[in-house]
C-alpha cells in the first residue's frame, strides 16, 4: 500500500511540475540586454512637449551620418530619476541618460567627459562640474525664476509697472484681488509647489547669501533660516486669500490652462512654460518679470537657472565611443540644438531667436539678469545640498502653509529634516 502511495505522490508532484517544466524547456534564452551591435540606447524624459516622435526626429541626422542606430526609451510610467537606478540594478542600464543630473549615488557610474574639449565649452559646464570633473553636459539654460503675468489684467487692476520689490508685489496682488481676478497668483500641486516657491525666492536668497547651498552644507546657515522669509511672504498671501488650498491641489496642466483662459494674474514658472504658451496662445498680452527683491536698488536679482537637456553617459556602456559621439552631436551640432530649442525652449548665447514670442520675452529678461544661480533642488556639483529628496520634502512641508501652519514651524521642520537626512 505504501509503495502505491509513493508512486501516486510522485505522480502528483510530476503533474504539478508540468507547467513549470514546460516553460523552462521552451526557454528561448533571449538575454538581449547588451547592445553589442553598435547601437546606442538613450533614456529620455517623455512629456507633452518631448514626444517619442520628436526625439526620434532629433537623432535621425546623427543616425544617418554615423550609421549608429539610436534607440529612444522612455521611463514608461516612472520618472527617469527612478528608472535609471532600477535599470542599473537590473543590469540593463542605457548608454546615454537625458533629463537628470548626477547625484552623489549616480556620479560614480558616469563617464568622465572632462578630457573632451567640446564638453567644457557647453553652457553651465562649470556650474555643474564637481571638483573640475565634467560628467554632464547640456545645450543651454532654462531660466527658473520667471513671473509670467497677464498684461491685460494688470491694466484693468491699474498696475502700470511690473513690481520690483516685495512691497510692490504685495500691492500688485492686492490690486488684482480687488479687480476681481480669480487667482492673483497661481501655485500648483505636487512638485510645482516647492519649485515655484524656490523660484520666487532665488534672487533675494542669493543676494542675502551668495552660494547659500555651500553655507548650508558647511553649517554656517540652516535650511530653515534660508527659507523662512519666503514662507512668511507665502503665509501672508494665503491669509489674504490671493492663493488658496485648492490651488495646491490643482496640477500644473490645469493651472496653466487657467492662465491661458485669463483667470490668473501671475504664474511663477520656468522657461519651458513659454513653449506651452506658444502651443495654445492666449488671447491677451503676456509679460514676464523677475521675482521681487527687498531693495529696489538690487532689482533684478540673480536668476535661477538649470541646465537644459542634460546628457550623461553610463560608464559601463558597451559602446562608449558611439555614446559619446551621440552626446557630442546633441550638444554641439547647430541643427540639433535648434531642434531641441523647438521641443522645449531654453536660452543659449548665439541661439537664433525663435518665432516663439514668449521665449523672446524670457530671453530679454534673462539678458538683464546680473548672474545665474543653480537652484537648491539640483543636488549636483559644488553647489550640491548633501541630501536626497529635497524638493519632495520641501513641497510636503511648504504645503502646510496653506493649511495655516506657521512659517516658523515649517522652517524648523525643514531644518530638522535636513539634520537627520544629510549624508555624513
Amino acid at each position: 500500500m505504501s509503495t502505491s502511495f509513493r508512486r501516486r505522490a510522485r505522480g502528483a508532484v510530476a503533474l504539478g511540475f508540468v507547467p513549470v517544466l514546460a516553460l523552462a524547456a521552451c526557454s528561448s534564452g533571449d538575454a538581449s540586454a547588451e547592445t553589442d551591435d553598435g547601437s546606442v540606447r538613450m533614456l529620455v524624459n517623455i512629456t507633452d512637449n518631448l514626444t517619442q516622435a520628436k526625439w526620434e526626429e532629433l537623432v535621425l541626422p546623427f543616425e544617418e551620418e554615423s550609421g549608429i542606430d539610436v534607440k529612444i526609451e522612455g521611463p514608461s510610467g516612472q520618472s527617469v530619476s527612478e528608472s535609471f537606478p532600477a535599470l542599473l540594478a537590473a543590469g540593463t542600464a542605457p548608454d546615454v541618460i537625458e533629463s537628470i543630473v548626477p547625484g552623489p549615488d549616480t556620479a560614480p557610474e558616469l563617464l568622465d567627459l572632462t578630457e573632451h574639449e567640446w564638453a567644457s565649452g557647453t553652457p553651465m559646464a562649470d556650474l555643474y562640474s564637481t571638483d573640475g570633473t565634467i560628467n554632464v553636459v547640456g545645450v543651454g539654460m532654462q531660466e527658473q525664476s520667471l513671473m509670467y503675468y497677464n498684461a491685460d489684467l494688470f491694466e484693468e487692476a491699474g498696475i502700470t509697472e511690473p513690481p520690483a520689490t516685495w512691497d510692490e508685489f504685495d500691492a500688485a496682488l492686492a490690486a488684482l484681488d480687488s479687480a476681481g481676478v480669480a487667482t492673483p497668483v497661481a501655485f500648483a500641486s505636487d512638485w510645482a509647489t516647492g519649485v515655484q516657491i524656490q523660484q520666487i525666492w532665488h534672487p533675494q536668497q542669493n543676494l542675502t547669501t551668495p552660494g547659500w547651498q555651500q553655507s548650508v552644507a558647511d553649517g554656517s546657515s540652516t535650511l530653515g533660516d534660508q527659507f523662512q522669509p519666503v514662507f512668511e511672504h507665502v503665509a501672508d498671501w494665503v491669509e489674504a486669500g490671493y492663493t488658496t488650498a485648492d490651488d495646491v491641489a490643482t496640477d500644473t496642466g490645469t493651472q496653466e490652462a487657467n492662465f491661458i483662459a485669463g483667470e490668473v494674474g501671475i504664474y511663477p514658472m520656468g522657461s519651458w512654460f513659454s513653449t506651452t504658451l506658444a502651443a495654445s496662445p492666449p488671447d491677451f498680452e503676456v509679460g514676464v518679470f523677475a521675482p521681487p527683491v527687498d531693495d529696489a536698488a538690487d532689482a533684478p536679482g540673480p536668476m535661477g537657472a538649470t541646465i537644459a537637456f542634460p546628457y550623461m553617459v553610463w560608464k559601463g556602456t558597451a559602446n562608449p565611443d558611439g555614446a559619446t559621439a551621440l552626446v557630442e552631436y546633441l550638444v554641439t551640432d547647430d541643427a540639433a540644438i535648434a531642434k531641441q530649442a523647438e521641443m522645449d525652449s531654453f536660452s543659449r548665447e548665439g541661439l537664433e531667436p525663435s518665432d516663439n514670442e514668449y521665449a523672446g520675452l524670457v530671453q530679454e529678461l534673462s539678458d538683464s539678469a546680473p548672474s545665474y544661480v543653480v537652484p537648491g533642488n539640483q543636488t549636483v556639483g559644488d553647489y550640491a545640498l548633501p541630501v536626497a529628496g529635497f524638493n519632495p520634502k520641501f513641497t510636503e512641508l511648504a504645503q502646510g502653509l496653506w493649511q495655516g501652519r506657521s512659517p516658523a514651524d515649517v522652517a524648523a521642520d525643514l531644518t530638522a529634516w535636513y539634520e537627520t537626512e544629510k549624508r555624513g
Binding site: 500500500m1 542599473l88 500641486s189 504645503q399
Partner: protein, 304 residues
C-alpha cells in the same frame, strides 16, 4: 476528528500530500522568498541600490530610524495606513457581500451589474487615481457642477482630512469588485438544497442568511477579510495618481513612504527595513484573523 488510519499511514499520507505542494513551493520560494531574504539582508545595511557600490553593514540602524522616528515623518504614514486598512476593510466587505447577495442569480441584468461593479478593479490603480482627480479635483467635474449652481466648491482633494476620506472611498470603489467576485463564487458553493429546505420550513430570507448561508460562507469570509486587509495595507498606486501623498503628507501611506520616499532617494536599506516591518505587521494581522476564524470555518465544514 476521528483517526481511522494508523498513525504511520497517516504520516505517509501527509507526506504524500506534502509532495503535492512542492511545485508551488519551488516557484514561490525561488522568486518570492529568496528575494524577501535579500530584502531582509539589505534592511541591515546602508545601500543605494547601485550594484557597483556594495552595501555596508549597519546592524539595526535602519530599524532604529523607523521606530524612533526622529522627525516624526513616519508616524503619520502609520496612522493613514491603519485608517485605510480598518475603515476600508469594513466598507469593502460590507459592500461586496451586500452586492453579492443582490446579484446572486445569473440574469442578464445581474450580469451587466456585476461587470459594472467589477470594472473599477480592471483599471490599473494609477488610472483610477487620474480619473477621480478629474472628477473630484478643485476644477473637476463635481466642483464644476457645484460652481455653476452657485455653491462653493468642496475640498475633496484640497483639505487634508477630506483628502484622506476621499482616498479611502476611491480605494474602496476600486477594490471591492475583487471581494464581490470572491463572495459570488463562495455563494455558489453554499448548498442550494439546504437553503431550499430552510425556506420550506418557513424561514424568511434574513433567517436563511443568518443560519444557513452565513455559516456556510465562513471560509470565504476569512479569505475576503484577509485579502482585503492585505491589499489595503499595501496601497500605493492609487495614492500616486490621486494626490501624490498630498496635500502635505495627509495621504502618504506606508507603502508610499517605502517606494516614493525611501526607494526614490536610493535608501534601499531603509526601504527594506520599512518593508520588513510592514510584512511583520501584515503577518501578525493575518495570523490573528485566520486563527480567530478557525472556529467559524470548522462550523462550515460541518454544515457541508
Amino acid at each position: 476528528m476521528a483517526r481511522t488510519t494508523t498513525s504511520r499511514r497517516g504520516f505517509v499520507s501527509s507526506l504524500a500530500n506534502g509532495l503535492m505542494t512542492i511545485p508551488a513551493a519551488a516557484v514561490y520560494a525561488g522568486l518570492t522568498v529568496v528575494p524577501v531574504g535579500f530584502a531582509v539582508y539589505y534592511s541591515f545595511t546602508r545601500y543605494n541600490g547601485i550594484p557597483s557600490q556594495p552595501p555596508t553593514w549597519v546592524g539595526f540602524e535602519n530599524y532604529a530610524r523607523v521606530i524612533q522616528d526622529p522627525i516624526g515623518d513616519l508616524r503619520p504614514a502609520v496612522v493613514v495606513t491603519t485608517l485605510i486598512a480598518v475603515v476600508g476593510a469594513f466598507l469593502v466587505n460590507g459592500a461586496a457581500l451586500a452586492l453579492a447577495l443582490l446579484l446572486r442569480r445569473t440574469t442578464p441584468f445581474n450580469t451587466f451589474a456585476r461587470v459594472v461593479m467589477f470594472y473599477p478593479h480592471v483599471l490599473s490603480a494609477l488610472i483610477v487615481g487620474f480619473l477621480w482627480q478629474a472628477i473630484l479635483g478643485p476644477q473637476g467635474a463635481v466642483n464644476n457642477l457645484l460652481e455653476s449652481r452657485g455653491t462653493s466648491s468642496l475640498p475633496f482633494l484640497a483639505d487634508p482630512d477630506w483628502a484622506l476620506a476621499t482616498l479611502i472611498v476611491v480605494i474602496v470603489w476600486a477594490q471591492f469588485g475583487v471581494q464581490l467576485v470572491l463572495y459570488l463564487a463562495g455563494l455558489q458553493a453554499v448548498s442550494p438544497e439546504l437553503q431550499e429546505a430552510a425556506r420550506l420550513d418557513g424561514a424568511g430570507s434574513v433567517q436563511v442568511f443568518r443560519h444557513v448561508t452565513w455559516p456556510a460562507l465562513a471560509p470565504t469570509v476569512t479569505v475576503t477579510i484577509v485579502t482585503s486587509v492585505l491589499s489595503l495595507l499595501k496601497v500605493y498606486d492609487v495614492v500616486l495618481g490621486l494626490t501624490n501623498g498630498g496635500p502635505g503628507d495627509a495621504t502618504q501611506t506606508w507603502a508610499y513612504e517605502i517606494l516614493a520616499v525611501s526607494f526614490a532617494n536610493n535608501k534601499v536599506g531603509l526601504a527594506c527595513a520599512q518593508a520588513v516591518l510592514l510584512v511583520l505587521v501584515a503577518g501578525i494581522l493575518s495570523f490573528t484573523i485566520i486563527a480567530l476564524r478557525r472556529r467559524a470555518e470548522e462550523g462550515a465544514e460541518a454544515v457541508g
